[in-house]
Symmetry: C2
Subunit: 238 residues, 2 copies
């Protein structure tokens, strides 16, 4: 099960065996990225990057030095597709939060596949619309109090990792630091610590040994006002 990317794309609609093959070929040359290092260091739009293992984060550093993580990049997620727009997101960086494996894909090659295979074209639309929907949900989430916000984030991670086969029913490997989580939900690392403790004592989460377990998933979802509809796991209507 080394193909989270394909596994994820199948949610957009059925892929033919030929299409799956074409995608598999893209991801052969992998490269390791250390934690705390950026995945994309040189500018340019000629390559797209696929994370095949580990967790990265899209982030921006504000004037006051704060780092805000905009979204997580999980195994099977593409990044820098967005860079197709000239000059866009020059300030948005992608940093590995844990050690990552990354496949660099040539953009022309990917564009080719999209134009050749309708299933892949559909899948790429789905990926983009999903990404948009996810980001909108993050904006919504920013309006909730910190504990709910963190709960919501955990639920999104659980479901997203389950999609690529990297989470069990109620738990997943979670190697991020509290500081990373703080930057992702936009609070100080001191405050996230207190939030974590609160969720722990309420027995909403068990987070130790780099593993996050959720004793009662239904309860955490309710607490975080989490409804997976926005993840578009049912595919595209078009």
């Amino acid at each position: 099960m080394s193909e989270p990317f394909i596994r994820k794309l199948e949610h957009a609609g059925i892929l033919s065996e030929v299409e799956r093959c074409a995608l598999r070929i893209l991801t052969t040359n992998r490269r390791a990225v250390l934690a705390r290092h950026d995945i994309v260091t040189s500018p340019g739009t000629e390559r797209v990057h696929l994370v095949t293992s580990g967790i990265a984060g899209r982030y921006k550093v504000l004037r006051d030095g704060t780092r805000r993580i905009i979204s997580f990049v999980l195994p099977g997620d593409l990044c820098w597709v967005h860079a197709a727009a000239i000059s866009a997101g020059r300030d948005l960086k992608i940093g590995a939060l844990t050690p990552c494996l990354v496949a660099d894909i040539s953009r022309p090659q990917l564009t080719d596949l999209i134009q050749t295979y309708p299933g892949i074209s559909r899948a790429m639309w789905w990926v983009t619309l999903t990404e948009l929907s996810r980001t909108r949900e993050w904006v919504v989430n920013d309006s909730r109090p910190a504990p709910e916000r963190f709960a919501h984030l955990i639920c999104e991670l659980l479901v997203s990792l389950q999609v690529v086969g990297m989470a069990g029913e109620d738990s997943f490997e979670f190697r991020l630091s509290q500081a990373d989580v703080a930057d992702a939900i936009g609070v100080s690392h001191v405050h996230i610590n207190r939030v974590v403790q609160a969720l722990r004592t309420q027995e909403l989460i068990v987070w130790c040994d780099q593993t996050l377990r959720i004793p009662n998933v239904r309860r955490l979802k309710a607490f975080g006002e989490f409804d997976p509809g926005y993840l578009c796991l049912d595919g595209l209507a078009i």
Copy 2:
């Protein structure tokens, strides 16, 4: 100049005269929507909606009754494209913040145009990637203090309205209430009032008679840490 939509799409790349014509035909049947009413009331994915005048907002009402506006929908903006994903965004609504004119476009017809004309296909990709980039910037913006956040929002509005010819060099018609602005930047209406007053006394904005004027655009942009790169106004690289 009744075609903000086409005007906006031209930023994605050149459109042929045939393509412009095809787009113009889509937008013939318009309908008025009163302020404070939703633009899309019945569910279904068979139609896309184009706002041709007025300002609307994508929003979600949270459990505690708070309304969070996720993004503005300006003249020339499509909505419900996103609904192509089954079951996605059933909870995201689009409400007219001022009186609006809306053109309802049949999705098959639009899909047709996209498959027929490469310029339109490219433009729709640009619209979507831009939307994504914009939304990410809203997440970033949520990490700034309220005055900076509002300043940033104003800058985005100024540039976006200029693109469709609905703003001057340093001002635009702005018929929103302070309560709408509060929901857009995620603070209480009491607090936004104090923020507005602060920006006024610092002479960063002049907001009266439904008009927002910016005495010194450069200064407001600096204050709000605004860099228009994320709006992708230079078009697509692919």
